[in-house]
């Protein structure tokens, strides 16, 4: 089971999904929230397909996924796993992403960033889900436990 302590960061944190090509060149794309299937240890990240091309090419050739998620509190985790599939997002997932994106925009505006660029960054709904099987989780919150592997399963 994916640990409950990571679920808040997975579903409401800022995410960056990383990949590597067969010749060890890396690429990443931002995510707009995610859904979790704790029982099957899978995560589906919500992305904009027009920005995710290099990452998807890498996933299809090597399959290896790194997924960083962090909350504004700095609580953060690194997930490692195996790419499974891409799929359309469900209505529930799109609704959750909209909530996440609205909250993210409010957060940025609260930090003094003008509303227009915040809306540009988080205004577009994701149009693709990338599902991967979680194999390892590392705590990445800055501090003495950073880099520590979280036990699960």
């Amino acid at each position: 089971m994916i640990p409950e302590q990571t679920l808040e960061a997975l579903t409401n944190g800022f995410g960056h999904m990383g990949s590597a090509s067969v010749d060890l060149k890396t690429a990443h794309t931002d995510t707009l929230s995610a859904s979790v299937d704790p029982a099957n240890d899978t995560v589906t990240s919500f992305v904009l397909s027009f920005l995710a091309g290099p990452v998807l090419e890498n996933f299809k050739s090597t399959g290896r996924v790194s997924y960083f998620v962090g909350l504004p509190s700095h609580e953060s985790y690194q997930f490692k796993g195996q790419f499974i599939e891409t799929r359309q997002l469900t209505e529930d997932e799109l609704a959750h992403s909209e909530q996440f994106r609205n909250a993210a925009q409010e957060n940025l505006v609260g930090m003094g960033i003008p509303a227009e660029p915040a809306a540009q960054l988080f205004g577009t709904a994701p149009d693709l889900g990338i599902t991967f099987k979680v194999e390892k989780i590392f705590k990445q919150t800055p501090g003495p436990e950073a880099g520590q592997e979280l036990p699960f399963n």
Binding site: L24, F50, R64, S66, F68, L108, P117
Partner: protein
């Protein structure tokens, strides 16, 4: 390659993110507080801890970074290749002084010592979505 329009992204006001990978092909993505401007074709990362990023770069020199303009939120992707480390230079002293000032303000003076300024060649720089 790096021009005036990119300079606000390299001031440490908005975090950057970085993906490296091991020789075995395992990617690692992390958020870093600052990527430092060196010259039009080079940037630097601080080496303070022997973490996964440092381990990966020792095995494989390629990295991919995203920097953000804090005023406009325009984002730029950088393909990087590790070039060299500096421990005795103006760049190192500048980075050390700024990191010590940040540490001092957060009550952690002397804890986060800079071990090296790791300099990367910028192979490409593209605005996100372009």
């Amino acid at each position: 390659m790096i021009t005036d329009e990119h300079q606000p992204c390299l001031q440490g006001m908005f975090p950057s993110w970085l993906t490296t990978c091991s020789a075995a092909g395992e990617p690692n993505t992390t958020v870093i507080s600052q990527i430092w401007y060196v010259d039009e074709e080079h940037v630097a990362l601080s080496f303070q801890f022997f973490n996964k990023t440092k381990k990966n770069i020792a095995e494989n020199p390629y990295a991919f970074a995203t920097i953000v303009n804090p005023g406009t939120l325009e984002m730029y992707n950088l393909e990087l290749e590790f070039d060299h480390s500096e421990t005795d230079s103006e760049l190192f002293d500048d980075m050390d002084m700024k990191l010590e000032a940040i540490a001092s303000m957060s009550g952690m003076s002397g804890i986060f010592n800079l071990k090296a300024a790791d300099v990367y060649k910028v192979k490409s720089l593209k605005e996100l979505g372009s």
